[in-house]
């Protein structure tokens, strides 16, 4: 089974090459097939067993441990366990859905929609500080085809999967960074009218996080003398001071990626400008690298630091929930609203992590998966609405159920799932983050639980406001076409099903995570 681990990374990488170098349509098909194979290969990584007598806190189901750079003592160490497995499968699924979606409708590069070509060609035209983007714009006609987009999506997949699978800190950092530039290109080439600014902000802001991550990683590696996550988990080798320093660095880095309020402002811009598939990947799995990293690397490697920072993390998480929800209540653009909703949802996930209890971290894991499924679906739907109505302004939308009842029904389903209706996927993570915080006891955590629960009510308020504006009332404008394409149904159906199935059978995600999280919490010894 070890070759599977390598194959899960090699297949999308090969698919990316094929997609990039084959002619347009063939490249897209080849890339989509690679994504399908990746998903098919990731599913059998599951192993229904747990080695309860291992010495380490991380006991992977499968492992690959090869020498990579002997001189620097770097190892190519991959592994999968109950914490990473659901995220690996989710990444495989969302990438496949996005690739398949581009087969049906490859978004046109932003250039063809904007007027910037003429202004760029004219000497002394509008000054654009993004010179890199200007050169990108020149080669767009060749670059901005569907197959390039598929290739970039696959490169992103390699990075995300690698991040979830890496059991070596340096390798983890490398994969973490692989994602950055392709995502930049996706936003900068296929984005909306203000894509240059959004892409630049995304890349610079997350690069700032990456620098801290690099420093944090090497603080740990140099102090402990090893980069092996399995050996490092539990933080035995590190002094308290080192752990606190390392955790602060790592936590800020992951907080930028997650994003945790107030380090979130790259997200709304990136989401609003990114093409539909970009938003889906971004919200669905890319943000999860931050929360996953916080659990596996932050909490695992520097538990003393985590315990020290937990109250601050908890307060910030609850601030994110409340601030995200309130800002959503005043949003006027559909994609921006959904982007801000991610801030609130990730707040619940981070609250779960901040409790440092088994309940809380398990809630964070299922919250992660649920948010990926539901927000992925929401962005697909928002993209479909924007494409049809040619606007995302809530004031210019309305009466969706009069014109396109199925689209309205699906949007209602996704919104209801996202507001955490019990019985659907979103409920478990949010409710049990609150339960975990309450369980921790004490005035601080009890207050945090109560405020987070109020945030849950605010979440309902802004999603119902969204539905009221978009689906109810008399029809505004024309939706073209009103019906759903078969490809859209095919791309959305798995997400709808998953939102329902994970909601009804949360053990699908939580069952396998229970023991590894228990071992982690035991090692952390909170």
């Amino acid at each position: 089974m070890r070759w599977l681990l390598v194959a899960v990374l090699a297949v999308p990488a090969a698919g990316a090459l094929l997609a990039a170098f084959l002619p347009s349509r063939a490249g897209q098909v080849a890339g989509t097939v690679a994504a399908a194979v990746t998903l098919a290969l990731s599913v059998p990584l599951y192993r229904d067993s747990w080695f309860s007598y291992g010495p380490a806190a991380v006991r992977p189901w499968h492992e690959v441990d090869l020498t990579w750079v002997p001189g620097l003592d770097l190892r190519f160490h991959l592994g999968v366990d109950g914490v990473s497995y659901p995220l690996v499968v989710l990444t495989g699924l969302l990438t496949l859905l996005c690739c398949a979606y581009t087969l049906w409708r490859a978004p046109a590069p932003g250039l063809s929609r904007s007027r910037s070509l003429r202004s760029l060609a004219a000497p002394g035209g509008r000054r654009d500080p993004a010179s890199s983007l200007r050169s990108l714009d020149r080669i767009l006609p060749a670059l901005g085809r569907g197959h390039t987009l598929v290739a970039l999506l696959l490169v992103i997949e390699v990075g995300i999967l690698g991040t979830f699978l890496a059991l070596d800190l340096v390798l983890f950092f490398v994969f973490f960074e692989v994602v950055l530039l392709p995502m930049y290109a996706v936003i900068a080439v296929w984005g909306g009218d203000d894509r240059a600014h959004a892409a630049r902000k995304f890349v610079l802001y997350t690069l700032f996080g990456s620098v801290l991550l690099l420093v944090g990683v090497f603080t740990v590696v140099v102090s402990a003398g090893t980069a092996d996550i399995v050996a490092l988990t539990g933080g035995g080798e590190l002094s308290r001071g080192t752990q606190i320093a390392a955790f602060v660095l790592l936590a800020i880095a992951f907080a930028v990626k997650s994003p945790l309020w107030p380090l979130h402002t790259w997200l709304p811009d990136a989401h609003t400008q990114a093409p539909t598939v970009g938003s889906v990947i971004l919200a669905g799995v890319l943000l999860k690298m931050g929360t996953y990293g916080l659990i596996r690397v932050g909490v695992g490697v520097a538990p003393e630091g985590a315990r020290w920072a937990a109250p601050v993390l908890g307060i910030l998480a609850v601030a994110a929930i409340v601030a995200g929800s309130l800002v959503c209540l005043a949003q006027t653009e559909i994609k921006r609203l959904i982007a801000y909703s991610s801030v609130g949802h990730m707040g619940f996930v981070l609250l779960g992590i901040a409790t440092l209890t088994t309940t809380g971290i398990q809630a964070a894991l299922i919250g992660n998966v649920a948010h990926g499924v539901i927000t992925g679906l929401l962005f697909f739907l928002a993209g479909a609405i924007k494409e049809r109505a040619h606007t995302g302004e809530l004031a210019q939308l309305g009466g969706l159920r009069e014109q396109s009842p199925w689209l309205a029904g699906l949007l209602a389903f996704a919104a209801i799932a996202s507001l955490g209706l019990p019985g659907l996927a979103g409920f478990w993570g949010e409710a049990f983050a609150v339960v975990a915080s309450l369980d921790k006891g004490g005035p601080l955590w009890t207050t945090l639980a109560a405020v987070a629960a109020v945030g849950g009510a605010l979440t309902a308020a802004y999603f119902l406001r969204l539905l009221r504006r978009v689906t109810h009332g008399p029809a505004v404008g024309v939706l073209d076409p009103p019906g759903l394409a078969r490809a859209e149904v095919a791309a959305w159906a798995p997400l709808v099903l998953l939102a329902l199935v994970v909601g009804l059978l949360p053990a699908l995600v939580l069952g396998m995570a229970g023991d590894p999280v228990g071992a982690l919490v035991e090692a952390v010894g909170s």
Binding site: K201, L326, R401, P422, G423, V435, A450
Partner: protein, 581 residues
């Protein structure tokens, strides 16, 4: 195990099938909806007393179980839900004959039925919460159903948000109980030995959810607005079942409620009884009269719980389900016939709609507590329980509930008489016609329990099932009967409309001022702070970096003499440093 789980599962399956039907498939949708409700009713009748559970999921050291807990009250409430759901499904076929979105409507009613039955049989608090919230979302969807009412979407949002505000407490209450017991299984929670403080806190938190769902003061304002939903939905969700679910849940967890919690419930109930009844006296919209009446009647049930009698509460829940469903469906026949909700446009409909008139009259008689109709016996039970309180609550709670309940009897008789007179008697302002058979029959059949269900108090098996005491008729019975007569006379002679009653003491405005406006204000302010402050800092950093770069760059573009000076100065500086170090 199997029948217990099937009870919510069958209507749930009907809902899933119904939701996937195309909009044109009316017949299929009607068949699926009616079959689902009928099957649920059959299963409910066949239910046995069982308790079963298996692990659903473990989160940390907390266990969530999946199982049913069916006792005799649960079975009776399940039957009531089944009967009303079936009546409503059949009735809706005709009532929504011209509605293009009938298939999703029928499916949502099925989904609601499933959720309500899940609440009834749930053996675990988290399962109960699932049903509880799914009911809320169905209520939201169905209130917003009518596309021709501009106020419907707003009313739907209001209903969901207000109940959700209460549910913040409900979730926290469940969490407190679950954390204490290590499991959310109701049997284990009831068996667990909590400290008194924990119980009081958990009880008060749960009551917040109950107040939201059961439209008790101060979270009651959504229910009258919810009348924007189609009338059959009002009958099912906003009269017979969902709003009573809060009461049912309290009976289910009754041993957990301490004296303090019950005292709070008693005060809430007394206020709600009077508030709802007074507001009902001044409404022109017949559905709003009935909605306020529902608020008031659920207050009676809450009052019964506060004074220690779950049996009286359950009895009134069952009779209320029958007569209030009857009243709403009959009101639907009237609205269907005259195409208006307003009493001022009705009157004298008795001759045109005799079946509806007599059914409505029986329903109102039962509501007012006219002996020997159903409401008389159940309300008498509550008044009697309040007169002889035996719960954990302090004694003054009994007095409070007793006085409010007695005053409520007179006011209920007043508005019931006013409603009957304004709609069916007096001068005819419009013409109606008797409703089509599929609407008429459910109404006619619901008159049977509305009239006779109260007599079940003389049936020992029924008394035993819900723990009811024998009816004891003594001189005290005359007091409510006399109050009823006085109220009816006043209602017949007519009373002037009091603005405070018509606007329900302006509590909507108070709520808007205290809750909605501050949140909106905070939202706008925070958005501004987020964009200008937090994001402004980020953008500012970027701009500052660019500006700094430009300045440094321009500093490097300088003439030869100054550059040469700079180089020399630097060389001297470095040399000096080298010597010193």
């Amino acid at each position: 195990m199997i029948p217990g789980v099937l009870l919510p599962a069958v209507p749930f399956a009907a809902a899933l099938v119904g939701l996937l039907l195309p909009l044109g498939a009316r017949k299929a949708a009607a068949t699926v909806g009616v079959t689902g409700a009928a099957a649920a009713l059959v299963i409910a009748v066949l239910l046995d007393k069982t308790e079963s559970s298996r692990e659903w999921v473990r989160i940390g050291d907390l266990t969530v179980t999946f199982g049913v807990r069916i006792d005799q009250p649960a079975a009776l409430v399940a039957i009531a839900v089944g009967v009303v759901a079936l009546a409503v499904q059949v009735y809706s076929i005709t009532y929504l004959a011209d509605d293009e979105r009938y298939p999703p409507y029928a499916a949502q009613v099925s989904l609601f039925t499933a959720a309500m039955l899940l609440v009834v049989v749930a053996g675990d608090l988290i399962m109960l919460l699932v049903g509880w919230e799914v009911m809320g979302i169905c209520s939201y969807l169905l209130i917003a159903h009518n596309r021709h009412l501009p106020e419907a979407p707003g009313a739907a949002v209001k209903a969901f948000i207000l109940t959700r505000v209460g549910d913040v407490g409900f979730l926290l209450g469940i969490a407190v109980l679950g954390i204490g017991a290590g499991t959310f299984r109701i049997a284990d929670v009831l068996a667990h030995d909590y400290s008194a403080t924990t119980l009081t806190v958990a009880g008060l938190l749960l009551l917040a959810g109950v107040a939201g769902k059961s439209a008790q003061f101060p979270l009651h304002t959504w229910l009258p607005d919810a009348m924007a939903g189609p009338t059959p939905v009002s009958a099912l969700i906003h009269a017979a079942t969902m709003v009573a679910a809060g009461i049912y849940v309290v009976t289910r967890l009754y041993p957990l409620f301490t004296g303090t919690a019950l005292a709070v419930l008693g005060v809430m109930a007394a206020i709600t009884i009077l508030l709802g009844a007074l507001a009902a006296t001044a409404q022109d919209d017949i559905k709003r009269v009935l909605a306020w009446s529902t608020v008031s009647q659920i207050g009676y049930m809450a009052g019964a719980l506060a004074v220690g009698s779950t049996a009286a509460a359950l009895f009134h829940l069952l009779t209320h389900a029958a007569f209030k469903a009857l009243l709403f469906l009959a009101a639907g026949c009237v609205i269907h016939a005259v195409d208006s909700n307003l009493m001022s446009r009705m009157g004298g409909l008795r001759r045109d709609m005799p079946v509806t008139f007599w059914s409505f009259a029986i329903g109102l008689g039962a509501l007012a507590g006219l002996p020997p109709l159903a409401g008389f016996w159940s309300k008498e039970g509550i008044i009697n329980a309040a007169h002889h309180p035996h719960g954990a609550a302090p004694e003054w709670v009994g007095w409070l509930v007793w006085l409010a309940a007695l005053a409520g009897v007179a006011i209920t008789a007043l508005y019931a008489t006013r409603l009957l007179k304004g709609t069916f008697l007096g001068e005819a302002k419009t013409h109606g016609h008797e409703a089509p058979p599929l609407m008429r029959w459910p109404v006619a059949l619901l008159t049977i329990p509305s009239a006779l269900l109260g007599l079940a108090i003389f049936w020992p098996a029924f008394r035993e099932a819900i723990g009811l005491e024998e009816a004891h008729i003594d001189a005290w019975v005359l007091l409510p009967v006399a109050l009823l007569a006085a109220g009816a006379v006043l209602g017949w002679r007519g009373v002037p409309t009091v603005p405070a009653f018509a606007r329900a003491f302006w509590l909507d405005e108070v709520q808007h001022f205290l809750l909605v406006r501050p949140v909106r204000f905070a939202a706008r302010g925070l958005r501004l702070a987020d964009e200008a402050g937090v994001d402004g800092a980020v953008e500012g950093t970027g701009r500052a970096a660019v500006r700094l770069g430009q300045q440094v760059a321009s500093a490097h573009r300088t003439g030869l003499p100054r550059a040469a000076t700079a180089v020399l100065a630097a060389a001297v500086l470095l040399a000096a440093l080298g010597v010193i170090l």
